[in-house]
C-alpha cells in the first residue's frame, strides 16, 4: 500500500481540528489558522485540505446544527481520528529526530 503523506498545510489543518475539539467546522478552523499563521486562508483551499484528510481517514466529519431557519445550510463538524493523531505524531517524531541531529554549534553560530 502506498504510504500516505501529510503535507505542511494539511498538518496545520489537522492540528487545528484537534485543538478545536468539538467545535471544529469551516469557519472556526479558518479563524484559528488565520490567528496562528497571521495570514488569510482561502476557504476553498481549506475545504480541499479537509477533503484530502477525510479521504486519508485522518478526520471524521459529522453533520450538526440543522434548524428550520437555515434552509439547506448545515454545519459540518470535523473530528481528528486516531489515525490522524498517529500521523501527526509520526511527522513530529520524524521532525524531532532530524532536529536533534542538527549540530548544536551550528545553531549557536546561526543564533549569534
Amino acid at each position: 500500500m502506498k504510504k500516505l503523506t501529510l503535507g505542511a498545510f494539511e498538518e496545520l489543518v489537522l492540528l487545528s481540528v484537534g485543538v478545536l475539539q468539538d467545535n471544529a467546522y469551516g469557519v472556526t478552523i479558518k479563524i484559528e489558522l488565520e490567528e496562528q499563521l497571521k495570514k488569510n486562508i482561502s476557504l476553498g483551499a481549506l475545504y480541499a485540505a479537509l477533503q484530502r484528510l477525510e479521504e486519508k481517514g485522518w478526520v471524521d466529519s459529522r453533520v450538526g446544527g440543522i434548524t428550520e431557519k437555515q434552509g439547506g445550510r448545515r454545519k459540518q463538524y470535523f473530528d481528528i481520528t486516531r489515525a490522524g493523531v498517529l500521523a501527526l505524531e509520526e511527522v513530529r517524531s520524524m521532525r524531532n529526530g532530524l532536529f536533534d541531529r542538527l549540530p548544536a554549534a551550528k545553531i549557536k553560530w546561526l543564533d549569534s
Binding site: G26, K30, G44, A45, Y47, Q51, R74
Partner: protein
C-alpha cells in the same frame, strides 16, 4: 430589494454556488460562508462582506473543480470537464485529421482576419471628428456634358453666400491645395508637398488638437501659419514653435500662430502646413468673386440634425440669386451637392479629390470573398467531422446505451468543434500578428491590431462562438442522433439526405474555388495584356524631371538645352501633360463648321522633340521641325480625330485652336493611348507650346551615369530645391496599381480556396471509402480489378467537378466580364481559361481523393470482410 436592507449574503453568490456545487458540499459551504458573511458584515460593512463572500465562493468553486476531486461537483459540470478532456484526447489521437482540419480553419480565419482589419481601417476614415455627421464637402456636376461628370472644385463666393443665406449652415471653410513649395526656417529647407491656404474656421469644423497656441487664434492674420507637430519638430526641433518665422520660396515670410497634433493616418486630408486663405489668395491675385471659377474646396458645418438633401435642394436658388444663372429647361451650368466628410474617402467618381480614394464596392467584394473562403473552411470541418463520426460510432453507441442523452453527446461534439476552432483561432491569430506588417505594407495602410482593446477581444470571442456553431452544429446533430443499435451493428450509411448535403457542400466549395481561379486567371491575363499592349509610346528609360523651382521654369529652354548636351541623353522635351493622361480639352473648330457640330477633343502642347522622345510615329505628313518657323501655327492630329471629323485629306486644312488662334494641320500621328486603357482613344490635337510643361528626358546611355550628369546640370540651375526625378514607367503603372493589388489578393485567395477545397475533397473521399469498404471488398471478391474500383470512385468526383464547373462558369463569366468592361481595351475571356481550370481541378481532385481511393482499390478484400 434594497441593498442596505438585506441581511443575508448576496443572492448571486448563493445562486452561483448552488449551480456549481453538488448537494453534499453545497450545504457546508453555504453555512460557513454565511457565518463569515454575518461576522464580516458587522466588522467591515455590507459591501466588503459581500465582496469577501464572492471571493470565497469563487475560491471554493476553483478548489472543487481544479484542485480537489470532481465528485463534489454537479453532473453537468463534471460532464463538461469530461468532455474537454475527451475532446483533447480525440484531437491528439487523430493527428492527421486534426491537422487537416486545423490547417483549413486557420487559413480561412487568417484571410478573414486580414481582410476585416483592412476593411475596418478603410471604413474608419475621418470617424474621429466630433461633429463628423454634420461636416460636408461640396461637389458639383457640370451641365451640358454628355458623360456623367462630378468634381470637387467650387467657386470662391459659394461659402459666404451659404453662410449668409442659409440658417442651417453653422460654419464654412474655403480651402485651396498648393503642392511642393519650398519652406525655410532656422536654416532648414524642406519641400512641403501639401500647403493648404484655408479659412480659420476649419479648426472649428474639424476636430484638431492644439499643441501650442490658442486654437481660436490659429491663422487669423494674413501672414499666419499653423503647422503640425512633426513639421514643427522638423524645422525648429521642438513643438512650441508659436511666434517662429517660416519663409516660403525665399519671398514670403510667415509667422507660426499655432501648432497642432499630427492628424490621424485615417484622415482623407492631413494638414501639415496651413495658411490664412484670404491673405494668401489676395497676395497671389486669385479671384474670389467669380462663380464660374472653381479652384477651391468648400467645407460646410451644418447645425445638428440638418437634412443634407433639403439643404442641397436650396443650392440652385442660391446660385441663381448670386451668380445670375437662372434655372431654365437645361438647368444651370453647375449643380452643387453635399457629401459627408466620411464619404469623401470613397467618392472615387468625383474628380479632383484630395488624397487617395477607395472604391467601396471593391471592399465589399474582398469581404465577400473572405467570407466565402471562411465558409469553405467551415464546410471542410463539417465534411471531415461527419466522415470521422463513422469511425466513432461504436464509442457513441456505447455511451448512448450506458445512458448518455442526446444533448450530452451533442454537447460533447460541439465542445470538440469549439476546441478545434479555438486552436485554429490561436494559430491564425499568431500568424495574423506575424504577417500583419507585411500585409499592411502590401496594401499600403498602417494596419494594426490593438491587443489592449477589450472590444477587439470581445469581437474575437463572439466570432469564435459563431464559427463553432456554424462548423460544429451539423456534425454534432448527426452523430448524436443515430440509433444506438445500428451504431453498434456498424450498419450506418449516413442516409440519403446526408449524402446530398455532403456532396452539395463539396460542389459549393468547388464552385467557389474554380470561380476564383477563373477570376484570377482573367485578371492575370488582362494585366499581362496591359504590359504587352503597344500603347503607341515608349516607356523605357524615360525620366520625368521636376520644374517646380522658378529658376528652372523661367530658364526652361536653356535648362533643356543643357540637358540635351549631356552625352547619353537621346531626347529632351516638355508637354502639357504626360502621354499617359492627357487632360486639357477644347472643341474641334474650323472655318465653316456650325457651333453645334463641334465635337470635344483633347489638346496638348509639346516641344519639338516630343515625338522623338516617346517614339510616337507619324502616319501622314510630318512632325514639328525646328527649322520651319511656320510650324508655330502647325497642328498635328491623331488618327481618331481625322476619323471623327470625316476628313479625307487632313494635311493642310485650317483649324481654329486655343484662344481663337488659326493654324494648319501639318501631320497626323499614329493613335497612341492618351488615357489609361480603361478609356478609349479620343480625338487629340497637338500644338507647339512649351508652357505648363512636364519635362521628360529619354536616356540612351547608362542610366546611373546619365542621372548623375543630369543632377549636375540641375544643380547649376536650381541650387535651392533638392533634385527629384521619377521614372515614366512608374507613372504609367500608377493607373493600374489597384488592379495589380487586386490581382495579387485574388491570387492569394485562390490558392487558399484551392487548398481548402482539396481538404474538402480529401474528407469526402475518406468518408466515401469508409462507408463503402465492404461493398468494395465484395466487388473485389467477385472479380473487379483495382483499376476498375479506382475508376468507379473517381467517376463520382469527376461528376461533382463537372457539376461545379457548370455552375461556376457562367458566374465567373458574368463577374469577370463586368470587370473587363471597365477597360475599353481588354482581353476576351476564351474557352481556354475554362478548359484550363477544369483540367487543373481535375488533377487537384484526383490528387486529393487519390490517397483513399488508391488504398481502397488495392486493399485486400479479406481485411474488410473478415468480420462477416
Amino acid at each position: 430589494m434594497n441593498r442596505s436592507l438585506r441581511q443575508g449574503p448576496p443572492r448571486f453568490g448563493v445562486w452561483l454556488l448552488k449551480q456549481l456545487c453538488s448537494y453534499d458540499f453545497l450545504s457546508t459551504a453555504l453555512w460557513d460562508l454565511e457565518e463569515l458573511h454575518e461576522h464580516n458584515r458587522h466588522t467591515k460593512g455590507q459591501f466588503r462582506a459581500d465582496l469577501i463572500y464572492f471571493k470565497d465562493a469563487l475560491g471554493v468553486i476553483r478548489h472543487l473543480y481544479f484542485e480537489g476531486k470532481s465528485q463534489y461537483s454537479t453532473n453537468t459540470t463534471a460532464m463538461l470537464k469530461n468532455n474537454l478532456v475527451l475532446s483533447l484526447r480525440n484531437l491528439k489521437r487523430n493527428k492527421s485529421y486534426s491537422s487537416i482540419n486545423l490547417a483549413g480553419l486557420a487559413s480561412g480565419l487568417l484571410i478573414f482576419l486580414m481582410i476585416i482589419t483592412y476593411v475596418r481601417y478603410e471604413l474608419s476614415f475621418d470617424n474621429y471628428h466630433q461633429r463628423g455627421s454634420d461636416i460636408y464637402q461640396i461637389y458639383k456636376s457640370v451641365n451640358g456634358l454628355d458623360v456623367e461628370y462630378w468634381d470637387n472644385g467650387t467657386p470662391g463666393p459659394l461659402a459666404n453666400a451659404m453662410e449668409q443665406e442659409l440658417p442651417e449652415v453653422e460654419a464654412t471653410a474655403r480651402m485651396i491645395h498648393w503642392r511642393n513649395l519650398l519652406f525655410t526656417a532656422n536654416g532648414n529647407t524642406f519641400i512641403e508637398p501639401d500647403f493648404y491656404p484655408v479659412d480659420p474656421s476649419i479648426f472649428q469644423i474639424f476636430s484638431i488638437q492644439p499643441v501650442d497656441g490658442e486654437i481660436s487664434q490659429f491663422i487669423k492674420e494674413p501672414n499666419a501659419l499653423a503647422i503640425s507637430e512633426s513639421v514643427a519638430q522638423k524645422y525648429f526641433g521642438r513643438s512650441n514653435a508659436v511666434g517662429e518665422l517660416l519663409t516660403m520660396s525665399d519671398e514670403y515670410t510667415f509667422k507660426v500662430s499655432g501648432v497642432f497634433k499630427d492628424m490621424p493616418q485615417n484622415s482623407q486630408i492631413r494638414f501639415d502646413v496651413v495658411g490664412n486663405f484670404e491673405g494668401l489668395i489676395k497676395e497671389f491675385g486669385q479671384g474670389l468673386t467669380n462663380w464660374n471659377n472653381n479652384p477651391y474646396f468648400t467645407y460646410v458645418l451644418t447645425r445638428p440634425g440638418v437634412d443634407p438633401l433639403a439643404l442641397e435642394a436650396k443650392l440652385p436658388a442660391l446660385r441663381e440669386k448670386f451668380a445670375n444663372d437662372p434655372i431654365d429647361e437645361d438647368g444651370q451650368l453647375y449643380t452643387y451637392y453635399l457629401q459627408t466628410l466620411q464619404d469623401t474617402h470613397f467618392s472615387s467618381k468625383i474628380q479632383g479629390a484630395l488624397g487617395e480614394t477607395v472604391n467601396r464596392s471593391r471592399l465589399y467584394i474582398f469581404m465577400a470573398i473572405a467570407l466565402a473562403v471562411l465558409l469553405m473552411s467551415c464546410i471542410n470541418y463539417v465534411n471531415l467531422a461527419t466522415a470521422r463520426s463513422i469511425s466513432k460510432l461504436k464509442e457513441v453507441g456505447t455511451r448512448k446505451i450506458v445512458g448518455a442523452q442526446k444533448r450530452h453527446l451533442f454537447l460533447q461534439f460541439l465542445v470538440e468543434a469549439g476546441m478545434l476552432v479555438g486552436l485554429a483561432f490561436i494559430v491564425a491569430f499568431v500568424l495574423f500578428n506575424l504577417l500583419l506588417p507585411a500585409f499592411a505594407n502590401f496594401v499600403d495602410r498602417p494596419l494594426t491590431f490593438e491587443l489592449t482593446s477589450v472590444q477587439n477581444w470581445l469581437y474575437l470571442a463572439a466570432f469564435w462562438l459563431v464559427l463553432t456553431l456554424a462548423a460544429g452544429s451539423y456534425p454534432a446533430v448527426m452523430a448524436s442522433s443515430y440509433n444506438p443499435l445500428s451504431m453498434l451493428n456498424g450498419r450506418i450509411t449516413g442516409g440519403r439526405s446526408g449524402a446530398w448535403l455532403r456532396n452539395g457542400l463539396v460542389v459549393f466549395q468547388l464552385v467557389l474555388s474554380a470561380g476564383l481561379a477563373i477570376g484570377a486567371m482573367t485578371v492575370g491575363q488582362q494585366l499581362k495584356f496591359i504590359d504587352e499592349i503597344d500603347t503607341g509610346y515608349t516607356r523605357e528609360k524615360v525620366l520625368l524631371l521636376s520644374t517646380r523651382d522658378n529658376n528652372i521654369d523661367d530658364n526652361l529652354s536653356s535648362y533643356m538645352e543643357g540637358l540635351s548636351n549631356i552625352s547619353g541623353v537621346a531626347a529632351v522635351a516638355s508637354s502639357w501633360s504626360l502621354p499617359t493622361n492627357v487632360t486639357s480639352n477644347i472643341e474641334a473648330n474650323w472655318p465653316g463648321i456650325e457651333e453645334n457640330e463641334r465635337i470635344p477633343m483633347y489638346m496638348m502642347g509639346v516641344t519639338h522633340d516630343f515625338f522623338n522622345l516617346y517614339k510616337i510615329s507619324m502616319k501622314e505628313g510630318r512632325a514639328f521641325d525646328p527649322e520651319i518657323r511656320s510650324d508655330r501655327r502647325g497642328i498635328i492630329l491623331n488618327e481618331t480625330a481625322v476619323k471623327a471629323f470625316g476628313w479625307e485629306q487632313p494635311i493642310g486644312r485650317e483649324m481654329i485652336t486655343d484662344r481663337g488662334r488659326k493654324g494648319r494641320v501639318i501631320g497626323v500621328v499614329k493613335d497612341f493611348h492618351i488615357k489609361s486603357l480603361r478609356e478609349e482613344i479620343q480625338p487629340l490635337q497637338i500644338i507647339l507650346n512649351s508652357n505648363y510643361a512636364r519635362l521628360a528626358v529619354r536616356v540612351s546611355g547608362d542610366l546611373d551615369q546619365v542621372i548623375g550628369e543630369i543632377e549636375k546640370v540641375y544643380e547649376s540651375f536650381s541650387p535651392q530645391y533638392p533634385f527629384d526625378l521619377r521614372f515614366f514607367e512608374d507613372e504609367f503603372e500608377k493607373a493600374y496599381a489597384s488592379d495589380r493589388n487586386m490581382a495579387s489578393l485574388t491570387g492569394i485567395f485562390t490558392i487558399l480556396a484551392v487548398i481548402i477545397a482539396c481538404l474538402g475533397i480529401y474528407g469526402l473521399a475518406s468518408y466515401q471509402v469508409h462507408n463503402q469498404i465492404k461493398a468494395l471488398g465484395i466487388r473485389k471478391v467477385l472479380g473487379a480489378s483495382s483499376w476498375r474500383i479506382a475508376r468507379m470512385l473517381f467517376s463520382k468526383f469527376t461528376l461533382l467537378l463537372l457539376l461545379a464547373m457548370f455552375v461556376a462558369t457562367p458566374l465567373a463569366l458574368l463577374v469577370m466580364q463586368g470587370w473587363l468592361d471597365g477597360f475599353a481595351y481588354h482581353v476576351n475571356i476564351g474557352a481556354g481559361v475554362f478548359i484550363l481550370t477544369f483540367l487543373l481541378f481535375l488533377a487537384i481532385v484526383f490528387a486529393s481523393a487519390g490517397y483513399h481511393t488508391f488504398r481502397a482499390a488495392v486493399a485486400n478484400p479479406v481485411d474488410s470482410l473478415n468480420y462477416e
